[in-house]
C-alpha cells in the first residue's frame, strides 16, 4: 500500500513527529510529505491525531520529538505568525469573522500587518477573480452564506502568498455545489505549484480530489496511498482498522401510520442577534418514519431543536402537535412525559454536563420518568441502575458510572446520550447531528439504534448536515434554509443535486436566493 516518495522534492516534510499528552500519545512518529502541486489528504477518525498534527504544523503546539522541514530545511515553528512567514496558510473549520464588518474589513483585521486600504481592495479583487472566489467585498458578513464566509478565510490566507495551504474539514459547512466550486479553486492553487493539505472525513471527496492520502490511526501513520486507486470503503477500512457494519434501512409503507409529531406553521422570532428566525415550518412525522432535515450549518437547526424540545415556548400551542395534542406551550419536562425526546447537537454543555458523572447525566433528562424522583428527592440507586443499563445496552466504553461526562470520548458520550433517550422509550425522537465528530463504530451504533427505534414504531426526526447520512437512513427529506423548511419528499425522488440547490436557497420563496452554481 505504501507508496514510495518520488517526483519533486517535498515542500513540507514531517519526520517522526511525536506528541504526548497526559495519558495519550496523540502523534506517534508521524511522517508526512507534501510535494509542490499536490493535494494531500490527511485522513483519520476523530481522535486519530489530525488536529494535533495540524496544530504542531501551525506552531500552536510543540512536538516532543521529530522534525518539520520546509524545502528540505529543518525549521522550528514558534507560532502562527512564524508559520505564516514560513508560507503556511491555514483555513479553519470554524470561522473567525466579525459579523458586523464587511468582507474587506474582516480580511484587513486578520492580517499580521495593517494593510494599505486602497491597494488591499484591488489585490483582493484580483485574487478573487484569479481563483474563482466570488465575493462582494463591501457586504457585511452576517448575511453571507457559509460558503461565502469560507471564501473570505481562503482569500485572507491567499493574501499572504502561502506555499502550503491547510484546510480543516472545509466542506462540512458547504452545499455539494459549493464544495465543487471549492475543488475548482483548490485545483487551480495546486496547479500553480502550491501544496495543499486537505483534512476531511468525507471519503468520496478525497477520492475525487486528492493526489495522495496519509491515513492516521491512533496517532500513527497506517498507510500512505493514492486515493484515486482506492474507494471510500477501502479508505474507511484503513481509517477504522476493521469493517464497520452500518444498518440497512428498509423504507416502510407509512400510508396508514398515525401522525406522531406535526409542525403546523411553527414560527419563532430570534432571541439574540444573528439568530435565525423560524418561519412557518410545516411537516408531519408518522409512526415508524425517519424524516431527515438537511441543511447547511447555521440555517436554523439550533433554533428548531430548541423549539421542538420546548426550551423556548412557541407563540401558540397549536404550532406543534404531539399525537394530535397541541404542545407548543408545554415545557421540556412535560413534552418528555408525553413521549417526545430531543437530543441537541452539542454534547457537552447542552445534551450533557461535562463536570457531572454519568449517573447525574442520566438524571438530566430521565428525571420526569416515574419513580426516579419521589417527594423531590432523587432515588440515586434507581438512577444509577438506569445509567448502568444504558452503558451496557449501548456499549458505552467508560471506566465507570462515576466518571465525569467530559472524560468520555465523543463517540462514547454520544452512545450514552442517545442511549439515555432511547432507554426512556420515546414515541418521537428528534436528534441533531447525532454522528458529528464521533468514530465510525459509534456512528454505526447510533444509526442502528435510530433504525431499530423506527422499526419499533417510534417516529424519528434526523437533523443532519451529512447528506450521505440522510439519504441512507431517512424515508423522506426536507431542507432547512434560513429558518424555512422545504416540503418533505421521499428520498427516492430526490437527487443530490436537487438537495444541494435547496440547501443553497434555490426554490425558497420570498428570499434572495444565494445559488451556488
Amino acid at each position: 500500500m505504501t507508496e514510495t516518495v518520488d517526483g519533486p522534492a517535498p515542500l513540507l516534510e514531517l519526520r517522526g513527529i511525536t506528541k504526548r499528552f497526559p495519558g495519550v500519545v496523540a502523534n506517534d512518529g508521524v511522517d508526512l510529505a507534501v510535494r509542490p502541486g499536490e493535494i494531500h489528504a490527511l485522513l483519520g477518525e476523530n481522535g486519530a491525531g489530525k488536529s494535533t498534527l495540524v496544530k504542531i504544523l501551525y506552531g500552536v503546539l510543540r512536538p516532543d520529538a521529530g522534525e518539520i522541514r520546509i524545502d528540505g530545511r529543518p525549521v522550528a515553528v514558534t507560532g502562527p505568525h512564524h508559520a505564516r512567514r514560513l508560507g503556511i496558510g491555514m483555513v479553519f473549520q470554524h470561522f473567525t469573522l466579525f459579523e458586523a464588518l464587511s468582507v474587506a474589513e474582516n480580511v484587513a483585521l486578520g492580517l499580521d500587518r495593517w494593510p494599505e486600504r486602497r491597494t488591499l481592495r484591488a489585490r483582493l479583487a484580483a485574487l478573487a477573480e484569479r481563483y474563482g472566489l466570488d465575493l462582494d467585498l463591501a457586504r457585511e458578513v452576517h448575511d453571507l452564506s457559509a460558503g461565502e464566509r469560507q471564501r473570505i478565510e481562503i482569500l485572507r490566507c491567499l493574501l499572504q502568498e502561502p506555499r502550503l495551504l491547510v484546510l480543516d474539514e472545509p466542506t462540512s459547512v458547504l452545499t455539494p455545489q459549493e464544495a465543487d466550486r471549492l475543488f475548482v479553486t483548490l485545483r487551480r492553487l495546486a496547479a500553480e505549484g502550491r501544496g495543499i493539505l486537505y483534512i476531511s472525513h468525507r471519503l468520496e471527496e478525497v477520492v475525487e480530489l486528492c493526489d495522495r492520502a496519509t491515513v492516521l490511526r491512533a496517532g500513527r501513520v497506517v498507510a500512505t496511498v493514492d486515493p484515486r486507486r482506492e474507494t471510500p470503503a477501502t479508505l474507511a477500512r484503513l481509517m477504522v482498522g476493521r469493517e464497520v457494519r452500518e444498518p440497512v434501512r428498509h423504507h416502510p409503507d407509512l400510508a396508514g401510520a398515525p401522525v406522531r409529531l406535526a409542525a403546523r406553521g411553527l414560527g419563532l422570532p430570534p432571541d439574540r442577534p444573528h439568530a435565525v428566525p423560524l418561519v412557518d415550518i410545516r411537516f408531519e412525522l408518522r409512526a415508524g418514519e425517519i424524516l431527515g432535515i438537511a441543511g447547511v450549518a447555521g440555517n436554523g437547526q439550533r433554533e428548531l431543536v430548541e423549539a421542538l424540545a420546548g426550551e423556548r415556548p412557541l407563540p401558540a400551542a397549536e404550532m406543534l402537535e404531539l399525537d394530535g395534542r397541541p404542545v407548543g406551550r408545554v415545557g421540556p419536562a412535560g413534552r418528555r412525559r408525553l413521549g417526545l425526546a430531543v437530543l441537541p447537537e452539542e454534547r457537552l454543555g447542552h445534551a450533557a454536563v461535562a463536570e457531572l458523572d454519568l449517573v447525574d447525566n442520566a438524571l438530566l433528562t430521565a428525571w420526569p420518568q416515574p419513580d426516579l424522583v419521589r417527594y423531590g428527592t432523587v432515588r440515586r440507586r434507581l438512577v444509577a441502575a438506569f445509567a448502568a443499563g444504558v452503558v451496557e445496552r449501548f456499549r458505552v466504553r467508560t471506566p465507570g458510572l462515576r466518571v465525569p461526562a467530559a472524560a468520555l470520548s465523543g463517540g462514547n458520550l454520544q452512545r450514552f446520550v442517545v442511549g439515555r433517550e432511547i432507554a426512556q422509550r420515546p414515541r418521537v425522537l428528534v436528534v441533531d447531528q447525532p454522528t458529528w465528530g464521533v468514530d465510525a463504530a459509534a456512528a454505526a451504533a447510533v444509526h442502528r439504534a435510530l433504525v431499530a427505534l423506527a422499526e419499533e414504531g417510534a417516529a424519528v426526526l434526523l437533523i443532519s448536515r451529512d447528506l450521505d447520512e440522510i439519504l441512507r437512513f431517512c424515508d423522506r427529506v426536507a431542507v432547512l434554509y434560513r429558518g424555512r423548511l422545504s416540503p418533505p419528499v421521499p428520498v427516492g425522488e430526490v437527487t443530490l443535486e436537487r438537495l444541494g440547490l435547496l440547501m443553497g436557497g434555490a426554490g425558497f420563496a420570498g428570499r434572495g436566493t444565494v445559488v451556488a452554481s
Binding site: 499528552f21 497526559p22 514558534t78 507560532g79 426550551e311 419536562a333 452539542e346 457531572l356 433528562t365 432523587v378
Partner: protein, 369 residues
Amino acid sequence: MSRLVVERRPRPSRWLSWAAPPLALLATLLAGALLFGLSGHDPLAALRAWFVSPLASLYGLGELGVKATPLVLVGTGLALGFRAGVWNIGAEGQLTVGAIAAGLVALATWGTEGAWIFPAMLAAGVLGGMAWAAVPAELRVRLGVNEILVSLMLVYVADLLLKALVFGPLKDPEGYGFPQSRLFDTPALAPILVPGTRLHLGALLALAAVLLAWAFTARTLGGFAWRVQGLAPRAARYAGFAEGRIVRLSFAVSGGLAGLAGALEVAGPIGQLLPSVSPGYGFTAIIVAFLGRLHPAGVLVAALVVALAYIGGENAQIEAGLPEAVTGVFQGLLLFFLLAAEFLVHYRIRRRGPAAAPRTSASSAETAA
C-alpha cells in the same frame, strides 16, 4: 534558559485537594512567625495569643461560635446560590435589613411579654432579607439586569436606611441623643445556650442550615437542578429546569439566611439597633463560601477558621501587643495561602525547556483529541 509555566492539571490532584487547607495553614503559621519576628515581637507568644488562648477558655470558644454563626448562616446561603451561578454579592445589605426588621418587632413589642416575640423577630428578619434580595432577583429575571451590581448597590441603601432609622424615629428616647435604639427587652433576646458565654440559639440554627443545605444539595432534584444551572445553563434549560425559578429561589434562600443572621445579631450579641450592626459579615461570608468550596460542610469549617483569624487577631493585639496593621497583614496571608493552595489543586507549575511554547500551554490537555 528554562522557564516556568503554569498549566492546568488533566484532573484536580486528589491528595492536594485534601492536603491543601492544612498546608496553607502551616505556611501561614511559618510566614506569620517570620512577620511577627521581623516586626519585633516574640513569634511564639504572638501565635499563642492568636491560635491558642482564644480556644483555651469556655468563654473564648463561645466567642468563636458567636463570630462564626453569622458567617455560617450567610455563607451557606451564598454557597448554594453561587453553585447555581447566581451571584448575590449583597448579603451584607440583606443582613442589615433583616436586623432592621427584627429590631422593629423588638421595639414595637418593647415592655410586653410573650414567648412569640423572639420567633417573630427571626421570621421578620428572614422576610426582610428575602424582600431585599427579591429586588436583584426580579430585575435579573424580568429585565436581564446584572444581579451582581444591583445586589451590591443595595448594600449601601440598606446601610443608609438603618442609619436613618437609628438617628431618627428609632432613637432611644432616654439615650441622651446617642444614635442607637433602646436596649431590647428580655423576650426579644436570643436564648443563651451555654451559661457563662455569649453563645446563643443562632449557633444551632446555623448548624441546622448547614444540614438542610447539605441534604438539599446531595439528595433533592432541586439541588441537582441548581447545580446543573450553575455548571451549564443550556443543559439546565434543556432538562426543563426553569432558570427564573432557580434565580428567585436562590436569592430568597441566601437573602433569607442573611436576614436571619442579621436578626440574630441584634437579638444576640448586640441587643439593640446601632448605626452599624455588622462588621462586614455579609462580605466576609463570600470568602467563607469560596474557601468552603461552596459545600455546606466546607462553609462550616471555613467560617470557623475565618472567625478564629479575626478573634485571634483582636486577642493578639491585646495580649501580645501586635499593631492592628500587622494582624491585618496576617489575616491577608492566611487568605493568600488558602487561595494559592486551592490554585495548585487545579494547576501545576512546570519547568519548560528553552524552546518554550508561547501559548496554549494552559489548554494543551484539552487539545489532545
